[in-house]
Assembly symmetry: C2
Homo-oligomer: 303 residues x 2
């Protein structure tokens, strides 16, 4: 694989995938709605401004680039809204158009970003082969339906398709309104910081590891759904404690001062057998190190 | 319900749904790619020429008509090709756009045409509540994914949605390349007529009954998937025998002269409990009568 088109290239995960693709030696064509951010890496990356929800954008882009590989990370992700927003349906349409145009332009292997929200949230560990798919949200339904269609269509069209199910990524660049960012910002400001009790268990993966895992998936011949996660269960309370330690203000945390989101499952942990054995991927950044880097990133932006 | 938009209105099933909607007293807005056929009923029906695979068509149409009800029967149905054609993906996109535009224009209840091909073809009778969904074809995957998305989106948008799973419709107006039409045409021409052994069991429903069932579904408050079928198992051999009797040339049939389509399930019969009990629908046309009418229709067209 050499010429790769990356969507969502200015996003939280996409911007790291961009770096990882360039490092792996691909000719990267990065797609974002508007011009690239100033801090994005420029070397070896060709930027294309395109709004993929515009029905004509994908076909034009694919004819222009003629990519061999596609890494599709763009989606509607507005914090708090994306779980149930109708934009999910718009992005199903955009993704199907993108894939059809990719095939029409001679594309050979596509990797797309899925989510643990495709699973029925009822287990303590999720395996791609056995966990039931019964999404509780429109976001999950939209990703799940897209995967079903994309896999079936790719098989008929004679191209390869893999689908990375992301669990709980964290790290620099995340939306400041999300839990970890908002807690760090509050602690850095020296304010009393409400936090959830944090009994929920999540499968946290540092953003750069998520990005590297997707590039490893793209560079492999593996098809179908693959969990992209660490496989390590972590209480949210531990995540917040690590952040508070890294900031140096653990006394500011007000445990239980923040309610959990309704409908949140108590536990979301991946079986990462496929990622480890079939892709040969190992995460590189330990939780404490990842949290420390995240705090350092926010500190730089607020000092 | 009064103002209803019907898609696929010039098709095999849609043209009969048009008649049934008008008979039921609805103000019918009929959508077809081109001008209506000469033999379509004109009274109380307003025609709109629109290609729903054009990304701008649905929004324009919905703004113009502002329908309260939507009966969506349009899809890609080219005989022999539709099971695996990429056009199925195009029609998923078209259907999602149509539904979003319907909601945006104030629509309240949508009914869409699904298929028994959404089920895993492994049972001898299919119930909406219990039969596993594991489509063997791209057509089935596309319809199944559309239903998942449409139901979830409709629930968030606060509109009602029902999904009629069609089994094996037959009758006047069917594609001449399909089994029953081609057999009847050959028999009418007085030619030796190859036919399959016909051991497969199908759930046949006369086209007008299918259309009336969809209108009954639209006029009901029932949501979710509902099998649209007779519930009567019939050997394909019996269907062809009835046709040969109706033509008056049973001696022309060459049993076993035609191979069955690969991957065809031996048995496809619906549990019609929902259609009967919740919709209160009863089919009106017996198989022998339906076949006789079909033969009469073809005879008229070839004499």
């Amino acid at each position: 694989m050499s010429r790769v088109l990356l969507t969502g290239a200015s996003g939280f995960l996409g911007s790291r995938a961009l770096e990882a693709l360039a490092e792996a030696g691909h000719e990267v064509h990065a797609v974002a709605r508007s011009e690239p951010r100033h801090d994005s890496p420029g070397s070896g990356v060709l930027w294309h401004a395109a709004d993929l929800t515009d029905p004509t954008a994908a076909a034009r882009l694919m004819r222009e680039v003629e990519p061999e590989g596609l890494l599709h990370m763009a989606w509607y992700v507005e914090h708090g809204r994306y779980w149930q927003a109708s934009e999910n349906v718009v992005w199903v349409e955009a993704t199907l158009r993108l894939l059809r145009s990719f095939v029409a332009a001679g594309g050979r292997r596509a990797v797309m970003a899925g989510t643990c929200a495709e699973y029925e949230w009822s287990l303590d560990r999720y395996s791609e082969a056995t966990a039931p798919l019964a999404p509780a949200t429109l976001y999950g339904v939209a990703k799940d339906a897209t995967r079903r269609l994309a896999e079936s269509f790719a098989a008929k069209a004679g191209i390869e398709l893999a689908w990375g199910r992301i669990f709980t990524p964290y790290g620099p660049g995340e939306d400041a309104a999300r839990l970890l960012g908002s807690v760090i910002l509050s602690l850095l400001a020296g304010e009393p910081t409400p936090a959830p009790e944090g009994a929920q268990v999540r499968d946290l993966m540092y953003v750069e590891d998520v990005a590297r895992a997707f590039v490893a998936l793209l560079d492999s011949p593996v098809q179908g759904a693959v969990n992209v996660a660490s496989g390590q269960p972590t209480h949210i309370r531990e995540l917040i404690s690590l952040a508070a330690e890294a900031v140096g203000r653990p006394e500011l945390v007000r445990w239980g001062g923040l309610a959990s989101r309704e409908g949140e499952p108590p536990e979301l942990v991946a079986d990462i057998g496929r990622l480890q054995r079939e892709i040969g991927f190992a995460a590189g950044v330990e939780l404490s190190e990842g949290v420390a880097r995240t705090v350092a990133w926010w500190r730089e932006r607020t000092s």
